[in-house]
């Protein structure tokens, strides 16, 4: 093999109606290197990689593999050229086994007719040992965890003989431990001569894993730099195009009276199994309490119960001393609990409604928005105009449909509605999920402001950095129980261990 790049993109351009997603991007991948592609959401990273994987056709430019120009019209052709991609949303079939998922479309057969399942399992086992990717070939995908699903995706690419591996935001769904394991795997693959493109918008992991980093901003390539000399601040500036505060500036908390109190709360999940077990805690005025935990350890059910969306099976919830254990969502709201839901598109917004309507979801039936059962749309619109300005929502006015906004701006609309209601308690569930650096900075600042106004904030997040940066106290939830309370200065490793059930309940 020559020392030239294994993959080279020359001035790739891709236009979608109304946007130039990729504007004359050059990119080169050397054999055996880990090359990170860094950029905010919408910077064009995924578009570029979908072009390499044959899912999109470029409007201009050239793709060269080992120095030879190629056209990649379909995923099949990309696979033939030794390109494999692990998508951000896994492309796995839940009801099939790991082995079936891996061999799909290039199955070993008996005499070319019958599927040779035993051989499939054997091949998968071989590959999994060779590359150190532990999977159970005969398990059904619906029964395995996220970390294992990702390994299955990587094996899928390797099974097809991939020399170039594209990992699209691979750590977005992983716990810190799983992410560390993934980095080990990536280094192992690199040692076996594979070339890897690592797409991310997380600065820390890019600096940790990549040999070189290419930064994209709004469809254009900013620069390619090597890891030496790359700093998180410098990369953030390249990504966003201005100075970004990566650290959250906040004064020490001045906690007051308990606003939200939870005693021995138990909640069942949709299948009727215990999801939250005998949980007790309190959130006081003027503090942010962070609830850390791996996804699926009862956070969703706990938030639902607090917001009045799910009836607890036992225990008690008090808001400002009033019992709301069995109260409706409306009553909880009226008592001054704001709720930024986990899934803003499904539960935070009515995507088909205008921003003005979305902003009025809580108080459309109160004066001055309506009177005697009549709604006054003009009043909704004029208030919305004020709120959109105050919360810096870009990309639309009061009459724009919510679905037309970017994720970051949608989240700002949700926050605007919840904060404008002047709640005493604010429950923020994964408030920055899927947002980019600039928007995260905004949301974080806003949450600290809410705290400084003397409100009680419960922050539920899967991002440890976020929990540690914002919280005044950290609670760790594991299998539905609070297993410890920590000071925000605690080491990330200790939190990680507690989140996976290890370690004792340490006191701050």
């Amino acid at each position: 093999m020559s020392d030239g790049p294994i993959l080279e993109l020359r001035s790739i351009t891709k236009r979608f109606p109304g946007v130039v997603a990729n504007d004359a991007i050059d990119f080169e991948l050397l054999p055996g290197e880990v090359h990170a592609l860094l950029g905010e959401n919408g910077a064009g990273k995924s578009t570029l990689m979908n072009i390499v994987y044959g899912l999109y056709r470029p409007d201009g430019g050239e793709i060269l593999i080992r120095g030879k120009p190629v056209t990649l019209g379909s995923a099949r052709e990309a696979i033939m050229h030794g390109i494999g991609m692990v998508h951000q949303h896994f492309m796995l079939i839940p009801v099939m086994t790991v082995a079936e998922n891996i061999v799909l479309a290039s199955e070993p057969t008996h005499a070319g007719v019958l599927l040779d399942y035993a051989a499939s399992v054997e091949r998968v086992r071989e590959l999994s040992e060779r590359f150190g990717l532990a999977v159970d070939p005969e398990a059904r995908v619906e029964n395995i965890g996220v970390g294992q699903e990702q390994r299955v995706e990587i094996l899928k690419a390797l099974y097809r003989g991939a020399e170039i591996l594209i990992l699209d935001e691979p750590t977005a769904v992983l716990t810190p431990q799983e992410a560390a394991e993934l980095f080990e795997i990536i280094r192992g693959l690199q040692a076996q001569g594979k070339s890897i493109i690592f797409i991310s918008h997380k600065l820390k992991e890019v600096v940790e894993i990549a040999d070189r980093i290419t930064v994209l901003r709004r469809g254009r390539k900013v620069d390619t730099i090597s890891r030496e000399g790359a700093t998180e601040t410098g990369l953030a500036r390249m990504m966003v195009g201005r100075e970004v505060l990566l650290r959250v500036e906040k004064k020490p908390a001045a906690p007051g009276q308990p606003m939200l109190e939870v005693h021995d709360l138990s909640v069942l999940d949709d299948r009727g199994l215990g999801a939250v077990r005998d949980v007790s805690f309190a959130v006081r005025a003027g503090e942010i309490v962070g609830l850390a935990g791996v996804d699926g350890n009862g956070q969703t059910e706990l938030i639902d119960a607090l917001a009045g969306l799910r009836r607890p099976s036992g225990g008690e919830i008090r808001v400002r001393g009033q019992d709301v254990t069995r109260a409706s969502a409306r009553r909880v709201l009226d008592l001054g609990v704001g709720h930024i839901p986990e899934d803003r598109q499904r539960r935070g917004l009515v995507l088909e409604f205008s921003l003005a309507e979305n902003l009025a979801l809580h108080d459309y039936d109160e004066e001055p928005n309506s009177r005697f059962g009549w709604l006054f749309p003009r009043r909704l619109i004029s208030r919305a105009r004020k709120l959109l300005r105050e919360f810096d929502v870009r990309g639309g006015g009061p009459q724009t449909r919510a679905s037309a906004l970017s994720g970051g701006n949608q989240q700002k609309v949700v926050i605007a509605r919840e904060v404008a209601g002047d709640p005493d308690v604010l429950i923020a569930a994964q408030p920055t999920r899927g947002l980019d650096v600039g928007a995260i900075e905004y949301v974080h600042r806003r949450l600290v402001e809410v705290r400084d106004e003397g409100k009680a904030v419960l922050l539920v997040s899967l991002e440890l950095d976020e929990i540690r940066a914002l919280s005044d106290r950290i609670l760790v939830i594991y299998e539905g129980r609070i297993v410890g309370e920590y000071d925000p200065k605690v080491a990330e490793e200790d939190l990680g261990i507690a989140m996976t059930g290890g370690g004792s309940a340490a006191a701050a």
Partner: protein, 409 residues
Amino acid sequence: MSVRAESVRSGWERATGPRAVGILGIALGALSFWLALPPVHARNTVLPVAVGILGAAAGIWAVSRRERRVGWGAIAAALVGIVGAILATRSSLTHLDIVVFWGALVTATLRWATPLTFAAIGGMFSERSGVVNIGLEGMMLVGAFFGALGADKTGSWEGGLLIAMAAGGALALIHAFFAIHLRADQIVGGTAINFLALGITGYLYVDVYGQQGTPTNLPAIPDVHFNWLQHVPPHQLGSFLDNSFGQMNLMVWLMFPLLIVSYIVMFKTPIGLRIRAVGEHPRAADTVGISVYAVRYSAVVVSGVLAALGGAYLSIGFVHSFSEGMTNGRGFIALAALIFGGWRPFGAFGAALLFGFSSALALRLPDAYGSSAGTLFQALPYVLTLIAVAGVIGRSIPPAAIGRPYKKQ
């Protein structure tokens, strides 16, 4: 106990678990009815009622152990069984012997189940690939008409079958084009297919055959005779076998290889794996280089061809003529059998047998009990389908991407 430990149950626990007991209850309910029928002919109600009560008890036990679906199913089966048994013991023996003539019932059951099975297997290919095929009814009807027309014009039943298959495939192609390419709503598209089939066959029928109807000497798909069956000892078994299987249509026999082949194709070959992958997660299939469109087109066309075979069997294998709208909802029943059978060949076949049995029984009842009883029994498949869809005996889980058009990025 943790969730994980609960899910790892031993085989023994499963065999004595509430679910198994509930299923036993269902079996006991059926047994209580059967005891009152020939050849056992229990003439007093004690034994059937006792067995029925046992079944109901098993059901109640299962319900109390949180196995609600199967448990209630057992209770319902026991009640139906007891009522049926009491009614049967009150009927005269001769009436019962007219209706419950097992040999004839078996052959009639198979005869009625055949068109349903062909269409249901066709539906399985389409739906496993993610395309809802409510147009099975229309495809059967087209098969029935073009089978008759083809047999008439070519002078051979083979020609009839080929032309029926082509017609069914063509109609399916229309459905596929709307559902896959134009991404139209598949229920609406399928309904349109049904009306289109009704219109085309109705028009052509009047145009070609007018008042006379299809000719009486229409070439027919031959029956297969097994005369040696009646000599199987002992005599009773021999005559039962002969009455059941001695003289059946070729298409009935072809149904069995079709079942086996379609099972192997769907679950033991790369083709089947790809069809199922496309029906579960088309984008995943696409990213490994499977053409979602090609798989879906082929699967829908296959479904049309098989449904048309079922229809052709009706016209040139069974009643030897064509009449307008003669499929009379059998495509929908086939769809119900498919769902009832959990989108699997043998499951669908089992359901088709059940529906076929109720049709066979319904046809024999009027001889002894007057026409109203038969009419009532004709409704049985629909009742059973409702019960099945409500999920009494384990809800069937459809392919994940069923009914959802796929758009390539």
